[in-house]
Symmetry: C2
Subunit: 165 residues, 2 copies
């Protein structure tokens, strides 16, 4: 178990615990993070010592939720995967969606007939809280995209001009 394996395992655990994804999915993310270029399904299956079916399923799941991208090469039948460039943006968007769902729930709760003043105050506070966080996250998301654009432009420039740091 070298340092790469350790990194992969830790990523697997983190995604398993915090994102509710299968362990193998987390390991795929870890592997893709520290692997240059892209990975084919067979490469990943062998590297992670799991079945091709698991990789196939979990890679698709990760693609579904925007963590990973499938890329194909001309004249090559295989599928390759890599970390999605807008991975972090997607993560923020997902969090935002959850918060909006919660805000909606609270809003519906406030519309109920059978609420005592105490309950109403509680739900008012909750609605306030959700509003603040949603607002903040929305702004963050905007700033975020700007940062990504800048970074992408800079990388492009450094690639065109001199060698990278």
């Amino acid at each position: 178990m070298d340092e790469q394996d350790r990194f992969i395992e830790r990523t697997g655990q983190l995604f398993e615990e915090t994102e509710g994804l299968p362990r193998i999915a987390g390991r795929i993310v870890g592997l893709l993070l520290i692997t240059p270029g892209e990975c084919s399904i067979d490469e990943m299956a062998e590297r992670l010592a799991v079945s091709r079916a698991s990789i196939s399923i979990d890679a698709r799941r990760l693609e579904q939720c925007g963590v990973v991208e499938r890329v194909t090469r001309p004249g090559d039948r295989r599928d390759y995967y890599r970390i999605a460039p807008d991975h972090y943006t997607r993560a923020l968007e997902r969090r935002l969606a959850v918060m909006q769902r919660f805000a909606e729930l609270i809003a519906d709760g406030r519309r109920m007939k059978s609420t005592s003043p105490e309950v109403r105050e509680r739900l008012d506070e909750a609605a306030d809280a959700m509003g603040i966080v949603i607002e903040a996250t929305t702004q963050e998301l905007a700033r975020w995209r700007a940062t990504r654009e800048k970074r992408r432009a800079a990388a492009q420039h450094s690639r065109n001009g001199r060698a990278g740091s």
Copy 2:
């Protein structure tokens, strides 16, 4: 199934899907959100039509992660539960902890020997991203606590105005 039941069920689903908690735990949150005062274990068990053991376990779990508070009354052997007043602060703190854990993982990844320039650039970007979000969330948490303090003070004031403590 009245509107209260519907609210409870929706809360249960939300917590189950997004927080990875047992369904009953989510239902407890929903019930406590729309119930004035506090709830005893027996009350919750009967209202939610589940066993006392489940309530006991899940209420403790919720208390453990700061969503719910246990409160006792003098001359009463029973335990009562209510939504923790600093519930939203806790939620933010929990998210922050997860992000810091991820940032740490990335930092360790950058320290690995076997990284190509491409991988290094990828991890640099990830570290950047985590730094930004962590910073933003930390600030938000601070602003948050201030808002809560203000709100608490206002509520306290209105309570004093109406009737002496």
